[in-house]
Symmetry: C2
Subunit: 237 residues, 2 copies
């Protein structure tokens, strides 16, 4: 991995970039994952690379909903695993719930690589799709789920997603918490709670919030999305 000095003004961004590149080499990410990461970099740059009040409020609400639910599942893809494996493991421990690997560019080798990465970080309950179980309404590999995981979940945390899956999860009666840097995306718009923030900043905060939850009343996701959009449109770069 390329060594980046901590004093570099773009240290956090360069570390993430290197993690994704390394993850491609180890089979956790694909070439298309790298392009998706670049899109996230640009959106975070435009946002201001800061966790704003609208994200803090969404994080608090997410923790509350996850703790209140009966069958939470943390859905994770290659980039999320590459950047935040340790945080997903910590959150699944607090919630006592599974992490399920869900991939668009799917292969047995990739499921295995991600599962092993999570287990090396201490995960006790990692699910991958189980043969015939599918979420109807989805055409891609993302339809393949585990019967005790995403299929049965009442609430799902999704990060860095394609829009159509959020729609289908909602159609199946599940609540969705999305982490998405684009407040205008279909995922962001359709989720019950949208955390508009970089996953590397908000995941540790979400773990902390789940350990010390507080009640959030009068939460309005449309307000959070609007605040995020205004922030992106008006921020001085």
């Amino acid at each position: 991995m390329t060594e980046t000095p901590k004093s570099h003004p773009r240290y956090a961004s360069l570390v993430s970039r290197n993690k994704i590149v390394e993850a491609m080499k180890s089979g956790v990410c694909t070439p298309h994952s790298l392009i998706a990461h670049g899109r996230g970099e640009a959106l975070d740059y435009l946002l201001g690379e800061t966790t704003f009040p609208f994200a803090h409020e969404a994080i608090a609400k997410s923790a509350q909903l996850l703790l209140e639910s009966k069958k939470p599942v943390l859905s994770l893809n290659g980039n999320t695993a590459a950047l935040c494996a340790i945080d997903f493991v910590a959150l699944s421990a607090v919630l006592n719930c599974p992490i399920e690997v869900n991939l668009f560019h799917a292969s047995e080798a990739r499921y295995d690589a991600i599962k092993h990465l999570l287990e090396r970080n201490g995960a006790k309950n990692v699910l991958v799709p189980d043969g015939g179980c599918v979420l109807s309404g989805l055409g891609s590999n993302r339809r393949n789920v585990h019967p005790e995981g995403l299929y049965a979940a009442d609430i799902v945390l999704v990060a860095l997603e394609d829009g159509d899956r959020c729609e289908v999860l909602k159609a199946h009666g599940k609540r969705v918490i999305a982490i998405d840097l684009n407040p205008l995306s279909r995922t962001a718009q359709m989720a019950d709670v949208t955390i508009v923030d970089n996953i590397i900043r908000c995941m540790p905060l979400l773990v902390a919030a789940a350990k010390q939850p507080k009640s959030v009343t009068n939460y309005d996701n449309a307000d959070m999305l609007q605040a995020a959009e205004i922030q992106m449109r008006t921020a001085k770069k």
Copy 2:
């Protein structure tokens, strides 16, 4: 290469994406090139994926300046070669000028891969860095240039660049035409003419403009950058 139906609403974007992925496999692009491509995708999405009047005016001015200059050079990196080799070859033929390969993540193999890609597309005059010749003021591999190319140029077309090189080219007394989707970048701000547009849309237009030039008077690059910034901040997505 994955087959994408032309009817797909994001056809152009998906074709570019596949070209960059294939170019990594052939050694033209690096993993970091893919991340950079993703940043461009997001910026183009926010721009509206359209060539706006501010870009058309910058294209016309660029053609005029390139035709008026004595020693134009077209500087090209891996992503530019992967996406627009044929347009760079066409423009270098109209201007009778070299294309010079300039890389941050540099290796002999990569210079060769890009040179061969250009030559397969009909290029007659491709330069790569020549041993000791450097542009002082730059720390990265981008300092390495050819004495008859970037070193001697009076005007340089640069696309998809890091900010510091534009600054150094200017310090060496060269005019710079930049193609950059971020109107706020250092490259965009320091160039004499900035085309804020996707390279796959503007390069064919620049070739056409160089074949049928028109005189552009009262061109003000700051105005173009401001128009682009307003477009990005206010566009309905």
